[in-house]
Chain length 247, copies 2
């Protein structure tokens, strides 16, 4: 769904190249959304983006039951990448996972990395659902890119594959970390990742494995026990506000 | 639901006075929860709190279909108030409102104040549902108090009734405010409120009314359009991290 205070208010992600006068095909889901949900018809205006060519004004060219096409007009906003911020998280139950994924996209995360940990009770995520959620959130929030959702992998494999120059904000449920505002005050912008554990926390072995990484920055998010989705939103907020594009 | 990494793991809010050896009656909903959801029986341990006497160890004394009683043991943690932080918000659709209310409780808000604005499409909130959500979140997150949910009122009335010494973090959707981390760096701890507008923002009249308040601190939450629930969580996070009990 588009935000209501930009005009035109409908903003659609398309995979196709965008340039002046290009004609962009719509798939069945997009045609349905524009025709039946948003009640658009030929000539109506919207915005399109594809994650690389910026945001373009476009008009509906044709709109059928199963497909359609847009006519691209001129560039509305130049492309800009979101900050290089990843979210590493353990899957949680569906309603809260949806919140976590939507909010991570709104808060500008560039990549979502689900991991398996010893205490993870949910062992998989629905990738096509996650993909639909990040696209919808990207359309709604005005970002120029859609976060990448990568396949689930064991925590150890993800940690070992993290580049050494990427700082990892480890949201430590034990409360042993540095208060997050204090920790971030001495850090610099650059590639970052946020690591959120399962409800109940990581196992002692996992905690030791994380602590052994020289790029890990263990932080505490206050005296209350936060749910995983809340922790993710809070941590992404802090990184964006202090080191990201909220400055 | 209780957090899984404190023992005993079940934590119940009760309205009654708590002291060593007190016997506390359970209502039908609590009896059902303990008996049928958590599968407790006589002698099983849990924690209780009432928002004023601290957190106490207790055991199940009796557990029937419609009522029951707890036997209070000794004090587990002394009482502590949450920071004096209020959340002023416009009602939104149900699923997102539930997220906003639950997260505000988790993030330690002391009072939730729903307001009517010109652009508010949802004109009321379900107070008993809100009350149930804040109690459940307080039980889960370990806080000692339950946030107060006050009846909905017009924005102008709420602004006029705010004490002059309470700073108001106004999350300005226009992007005209100071970046939130910068704004908070020059503020001090004390009574605070966070003000979140409706999707689409406040009307020009409402914006002028807010700006005229000497205690208003207009801030921007980054370049993307955040949903109301996301804004509330982000703003509460920033206040707690910088001026509240996350320090």
């Amino acid at each position: 769904m588009a935000s209501s205070h930009t005009a035109p208010s409908i903003r659609l992600y398309v995979p196709h190249d965008l340039s002046a006068a290009a004609v962009v095909p719509l798939d069945e889901k997009q045609a349905h959304y524009l025709k039946n949900v948003m009640r658009l018809g030929p000539g109506d205006a919207l915005l399109v983006f594809n994650g690389r060519d910026g945001e373009w004004r476009a008009t509906v060219d044709a709109l059928g039951r199963r497909d359609g096409a847009l006519q691209v007009g001129d560039l509305a906003r130049a492309h800009i990448d979101e900050p290089d911020l990843w979210l590493v998280f353990t899957p949680i139950k569906k309603a809260r996972l949806d919140v976590l994924i939507e909010k991570a996209a709104e808060l500008g995360a560039a990549r979502l990395i689900p991991v398996l940990s010893a205490h993870t009770s949910v062992r998989d995520i629905n990738e096509s659902r996650a993909q639909a959620l990040v696209i919808e959130a990207a359309e709604q929030c005005g970002r120029m890119t859609v976060p990448e959702v990568v396949p689930i992998a064991p925590l150890s494999a993800v940690l070992d594959a993290l580049p050494e120059d990427r700082r990892l904000l480890f949201c430590d449920e034990s409360g042993a970390g540095t208060p997050v505002a204090t920790a971030l005050a001495s850090e610099a912008p650059g590639p970052w990742a946020v690591l959120i554990g399962p409800e109940g926390g990581f196992s002692p072995d996992e905690r030791a494995m994380i602590a052994a990484k020289p790029f890990a920055v263990p932080v505490a998010l206050g005296p209350r026990v936060l749910r995983a989705d809340t922790s993710a939103i809070a941590a992404l907020t802090m990184v964006q506000a202090h080191l990201g594009d909220w400055r």
